[in-house]
């Protein structure tokens, strides 16, 4: 609990710091300089000649708007001071203006010098670091916003579907056959990730532009490449979990979203994010997480109810082993569970150790090519239905050789790497002395859901 509170405090602090940095940067990039710092208009004595000079100088500056305004105001002030001094020395006004402008040198050269002065290496490094930091904050905010958006969209869809159905318009059901909610969950995650990647890239561009004293467009290409590669890699290869065709399609668009977000309307200010927006986002995400957790616990309680089963159709896999080669008292015990090191499903069947080592050795001598076979099974996540081998399939999903140690046969399956493995039944088989394959044990059943990246989904076997 203490660690959780620590995480929340640290991450919350970092998020607040990132939002503060972004808002500070937005002021610098804004069209007007900060009202508390620079005067918004140069003095009233500024002549057309001075304005033209400042315009030529400004054309070379390529700095954020607030910096441009500050430089113009400062130079206008300097010129007015200089002209007044020259007039006090007896020079007429036109000559004083020309002399004051001449002392500052060519406008374009002054603009270039000022640009180089502002865009120092130190500020460039600060821009890169600040951009990464702001990008992290933008990702969190974008994720919150994306989740809220997905929730609202799902709610609107849920409300609109019956209305549309009433007028004879039926929406395509993208979750058909998905009783576990994987498709919906994966689409939520993909939408939130895409929006987060776009927000993060925009935050990074504008914050780094402000800190490095560059225009957003001049640094956009760097962040478009970085954001596209970074978020693209994460969305396609790094982000693991439930997948579906719509979610994979959205995740494949993430690099494009990040790259486009770096350029499209990048000179426009980011929307203001107040503290209440962050609070609302947190409430929405935490609330939806609780809803999904409760829904998941309810749905997971109905699976794996085998009950009394008249026929599991196991003979469609292989006939039972003759008692001559596998005595009736040679019982197996065991089951399956998660293999934490690989994320797969570990199955284990142990011969009754009470048989004794000589009897076990005698049984094993009858059998070769012992293996576990995973077959498609009748859906187990539908309460009240029969379970057993789904006889529509003529071949197993996956076959793994059984390793024998001491008294147990073991193997690890990766059914979570198949797109539609769904319910499965694993049977232990082996080749007997007559050269035919027999079923040593009736096996066990379970339900698998795809778990992997978008790339895993695309390259997964059916």
């Amino acid at each position: 609990m203490t660690i959780l509170v620590g995480y929340v405090v640290v991450l919350g602090g970092l998020l607040v710091a990132a939002v503060w940095l972004v808002r500070r940067s937005e002021r610098r990039l804004g069209a007007e300089p900060d009202a508390h710092t620079a005067p918004t208009q140069p003095g009233s004595d500024v002549t057309a000649e001075i304005t033209a000079y400042l315009d030529r100088m400004t054309a070379e500056l390529a700095l954020p708007a607030a910096d441009v305004a500050e430089v113009r105001a400062e130079l206008a002030d300097h010129l007015q001071d200089s002209i007044a001094s020259l007039e006090a020395e007896g020079m007429d006004r036109d000559s004083a203006i020309r002399e004051a402008l001449g002392r500052l040198g060519p406008a374009a050269e002054l603009g270039r010098q000022l640009r180089m002065a502002h865009q120092s290496t130190r500020r460039l490094l600060a821009g890169v670091g600040g951009g990464v930091f702001a990008g992290g904050g933008g990702f969190v905010l974008g994720y919150l916003g994306g989740t809220m958006l997905a929730l609202f969209a799902a709610l609107a869809l849920a409300l609109a579907t019956p209305v549309l159905a009433a007028v004879g318009l039926r929406l395509p059901d993208i979750t058909s056959g998905d009783h576990s909610g994987n498709a919906v969950n994966s689409i939520f995650l993909a939408v939130a990730t895409a929006i987060a990647a776009g927000a993060a890239t925009r935050y990074a561009v504008r914050t780094s532009a402000s800190l490095s004293r560059r225009t957003p467009r001049s640094v956009a290409a760097f962040w478009a490449v970085g954001g596209g590669l970074g978020f693209g890699w994460w969305a396609i290869f790094g982000m693991r979990g439930a997948q579906s065709w719509p979610s994979v399609a959205i995740e494949l668009c993430v690099p494009v979203v990040a790259a486009v977000a770096a350029f499209a309307g990048i000179e426009r200010s980011m929307p203001h994010v107040g503290r209440w927006a962050v609070v609302a986002g947190l409430v929405a995400v935490v609330g939806s997480g609780l809803v999904f957790a409760v829904a998941g616990s309810v749905s997971s309680s109905v699976i794996n109810t085998i009950g009394q089963q008249p026929d599991l159709h196991l003979d469609s896999v292989a006939p039972a082993a003759p008692t001559a080669w596998l005595p009736e008292d040679a019982n197996f015990g065991g089951g399956w569970g998660s293999d934490w090191s690989t994320g797969g499903t570990q199955v284990s069947l142990e011969l009754d150790p009470n048989l004794g080592a000589p009897a076990i050795a005698a049984i094993l001598a009858n059998w070769r090519e012992v293996r576990f076979e995973a077959w498609h099974a009748l859906p187990m996540d539908m309460p009240g239905l029969l379970v057993g081998i789904d006889t529509r399939y003529s071949s197993p999903i996956e076959v793994q050789p059984a390793s024998f140690s001491d008294t147990s046969f073991e193997a690890v399956f990766h059914l979570e790497r198949f797109r539609d493995s769904g319910s499965w039944w694993i049977v232990l088989t082996a080749v007997g002395p007559d050269g035919h394959r027999y079923r040593l044990e009736s096996g066990m059943g379970g339900d698998a859901r795809f778990n992997g990246s978008a790339w895993d989904w695309l390259t997964a076997p059916q």
């Binding site: 003095g43 430089v71 002030d77 300097h78 001071d81 200089s82 500052l104 040198g105 010098q113 130190r122």
Partner: protein
């Protein structure tokens, strides 16, 4: 201050200008024109080792405020390097002017500590 098209000479001139600006500022808050006037004082020019008659690459190095082309690049680059801080402060007449002062703490302190 010098006006030349040679980039190396301009960098050299900018470095000199930065030093003169720092010397002129001492511990006070000054605007650009005030710094310029301070730099024109003989004592400041002498302290900075840039007499009015000095030559730089054949171009006249003018300590008189006739060539002010490097003043603001020097001020802004010193600000970018965290040697100076700037703020818009009201003068006696209430007009806000961009005013510079030396930073007490900054990266330059590391260099000074290293030298000591």
């Amino acid at each position: 201050m010098s006006r030349t098209d040679d980039p190396a000479r301009r960098v050299e001139a900018l470095v000199r200008e930065r030093k003169r600006v720092l010397d002129a500022l001492r511990g006070e808050d000054l605007t650009g024109p005030a710094i310029l006037r301070r730099m024109s004082e003989p004592s400041t020019a002498a302290e900075a080792g840039t007499p009015a008659s000095a030559q730089l690459g054949g171009a006249a190095v003018d300590s008189e405020p006739r060539d002010q082309s490097l003043l603001y690049p020097a001020l802004h680059s010193l600000e970018a390097d965290w040697r100076l801080e700037a703020a818009w402060l009201p003068d006696a007449g209430g007009v806000r002017r961009r005013t510079y002062r030396k930073r007490r703490f900054g990266p330059h302190l590391l260099g000074e500590i290293g030298r000591s």
